[in-house]
Amino acid sequence: MELDFSVVIEYFPRLLIGTWTTIELVILSIVLGAIVALPVALARISKNPWISSLPFAFIFFFRGTPLLVQIFLVYYGASQFEAVRESFLWPVLREPFWCAIIAFTLNTSAYTAEIFRGAIQAIPEGEVEACKVMGMTKAQMYRRILLPRAFGIVLPAYGNEIILMLKASALASTITLLDLTGMARTIIARTYTPIEIFLAAGAIYLAISIVVIYIFRIIEKRQNRYLGSLSIKVPDKG
């Protein structure tokens, strides 16, 4: 069997349309994920078990189960119930795009929360004590010192998370979204050239990841100029 890459050229514009959907999905879920992650991480750090157990369970569930299951749960699972379909949430939940965003956001926020937690806890105890001895309140301490400080620490891990999210977004194709992978599968349904089209899609993903890596490398370099190396362990995702 020979490969016929002329189909790639023919369908490239459609792959690009899918790419744009993929980028939208990733950017939205990453931004929303970070917003959700922050309070989750802060609650998770709390020494009070009443406050920390719920975020713990949240993080554990979303990190311990496949994203594919999570997407299906949100998309097919939720819509199984009459009550959901009649609720005010339905206009959002009926859209596969928003279902994907919800699943991705919850998923990435669980991972991001762990990254934030790791970063905050990686701040040397002495720097925290320097806040305390100054008479800072807890809120001041987080707002003024710990969170800005954590931002620098978080960068490498967070760059990784964005790439992992980019790749995970391919699962949107399973709920009818025409993201890059979805578009590829639809094209293949016409052309029956899976290898050529999948390779082309893979190359586009790779190109985007390389751009993301490059951007983060630049930001990191700027940070590390004065922060020294502050890398911490990266919680991985799946």
């Binding site: 002495g126 004590e129 001895v133 309140t137 400080r149 922060l227």
Partner: protein
Amino acid sequence: MSKGPALELRDIHKTFGDHEVLKGISLEARDGDVISILGSSGSGKSTFLRCINLLENPTRGEILFNGEALNLKPGECDLYASDMKQLTRMRQKIGFVFQSFNLWPHMTILQNVMEGPLHVLKRPKQEVLEYAEYLLNKVGIADKKHMYPNQLSGGQQRVAIARTLAMDPQVLLFDEPTSALDPELVGEVLGVMRGLADEGRTMLIVTHEMNFAREVSSEVVFLHQGLVEEKGTPDKVFGSPDSERCKAFISSVF
């Protein structure tokens, strides 16, 4: 004016697990006192200093600041502040200088120094800026104010002292401020501290620099295994200590 000594500690105990590190230490510092705390490694000097502003929670004891007792409530095994507002207020008046500086690496020198007065005491920005520059000048590091701590090759401790002074604390606590420094930097920091003592600041200093302690202190306290073993004027403690242990310690370092 204040109704008691600037700082008074009564019968401070501290237990880590089942290891009793402080076995009842009392100490009084009046305005202008410079008290040096000596003792061999592990004798509890740092722990004691950290108990004063509750970086470490004492197991038993009382802490009074200008005659006002810090409200404490018993926890599982240690005492905790029952009035966070009061503790915060007190900490703002008690400066603490760490052995390892603990500067915030993501802020410039100037930002480090301005952070406290600007955002904790909420003083006006212009005033804070001027004062910070004055202080950086005083510790001799003004020309590097826009650098980040990690870009400084030495001098972090001087920045840390300026950061503490920027809060205008009534009492200063130093925990071995020179022992993480290269020999040539030690002199500079001791110089800054000597200046502070000359200004009449109230200071508690944990140090291994005997000459310095002898020179600047109004009182010297020698700790041994969590207890005050010897206490008195520098001449007394260094010259003719009562305790055999203190004698041995001092002769071992000179």
